[in-house]
Symmetry: C2
Subunit: 193 residues, 2 copies
DNA sequence: CGTCTCGTTGAGAGTTTTCAATGTAAGTGG
DNA sequence: CCACTTACATTGAAAACTCTCAACGAGACG
């Protein structure tokens, strides 16, 4: 279970053998079946989750009960309602499993201890968040300036695997579009070729 | 010049006196006049900038030469083309001053040295980025799920000061809307009251 | 003044959504 | 294994929202 995590960390910063022995003690593994919730809107988010295997989605629900997906998290991604986790607020995000998944959970006390006791992890998270910011910045630009079609094209060229793993109407939700619009975009692209 | 920076850091983590003596050596102060560029699209972004005083905007230019503002940075904010800064790519962002401003610049070698030599700064940036992620996540949700009007209302309730400091057409650009749309939204709100 | 920047308003166009119907594939219980 | 339900994708037509283009007005600044 921790192989994936160590791999991910060591892409960013070096770990000693002592680090590797210590780190697992801060986490609790958890298996999720398809459709099982990791977090539900209104709860307090008590942990960060590292996805060791599988695929989850995090999303908000609007007035009409519609899902708006903010993130797909597969192997190597972290997922959580950060605001709820960090500031002890009620979660506005729900998170559930699209595939059978295995996650590593770390709660707030362990997270804070880990950061202090294992400096490599402070560094890891700094780099992780730093890179995430780059990605989110880009997504924000795309979201504010691209047409529906450009958004769709950008997504499938950035993550070509995603269409194989995620049904189209969930991609639509992620892009802030309706399923119908995505269907029509695909059709337009098809007919041009 | 460093008062503002220290205040900002100490909101997040403690600094020793030695830290405070050392930190300024990593930075170079710079004054910017109104409309002066800090970074122009296509250049390589060589530094992170901490805004000690003033107000800058960072933005992309689309095909038609239109600005799309991604960030307003006033006192206490960091601004940069992160992707360019971190990965030595050409910047897609331009950054210029809306008001006469004073910024503290740190280049890549100093940034990396600072993180290693002053652990409090590794921690500071981890927390800074962590909080920024919370904000960006929220902005992404707003951008994908809210109507033009809801976006505008959300912005001015989150940052009530912003309308005093930033002309309306720049708020529009920040929200991914046209100036006309924002003008009409304001009118609608006015007429309801 | 004259110019430039900024905001407002109107009319028409374009894009995306909504609503509704249909088709198809996949999973489930009998 | 079939019948049934559910989930997912496609298509059309009309509605809604936001943008574009154009004109006008007000204020700031040299």
């Amino acid at each position: 279970m921790f192989t994936e995590l160590f791999r991910h960390i060591e892409e960013k910063t070096a770990l000693t053998e002592a680090d590797k022995r210590g780190i697992p003690n801060f986490f609790v593994p958890k298996r999720l079946r398809k459709k099982q919730f990791l977090l539900q809107e209104g709860e307090y988010c008590r942990s960060l989750a590292f996805v060791a295997r599988g695929l989850l989605k995090s999303y908000t629900l609007d007035g009409g009960g519609q899902e708006h997906i903010s993130l797909f998290a597969w192997e190597g991604w972290w997922v959580s309602d950060f605001k709820s986790f960090l500031f002890d607020e009620k979660a506005i995000l729900s998170i559930d499993a699209l595939e059978q998944s295995e996650v590593l959970l770390i709660d707030r006390p362990n997270y804070e201890r880990l950061l202090v006791e294992v400096p490599a992890m402070e560094r890891y998270f700094r780099i992780l968040y730093q890179n995430s910011l780059v990605t989110k910045d880009r997504r924000l630009i795309v979201s504010n300036t691209y047409s529906a079609r450009e958004k769709y094209v950008q997504l499938i060229t950035t993550y070509p695997q995603i269409a194989q793993r995620v049904p189209q109407h969930l991609l639509a939700s992620f892009l802030g579009l309706t399923p119908e619009t995505v269907s029509r975009i695909k059709k337009d692209i098809r007919e041009e070729a």
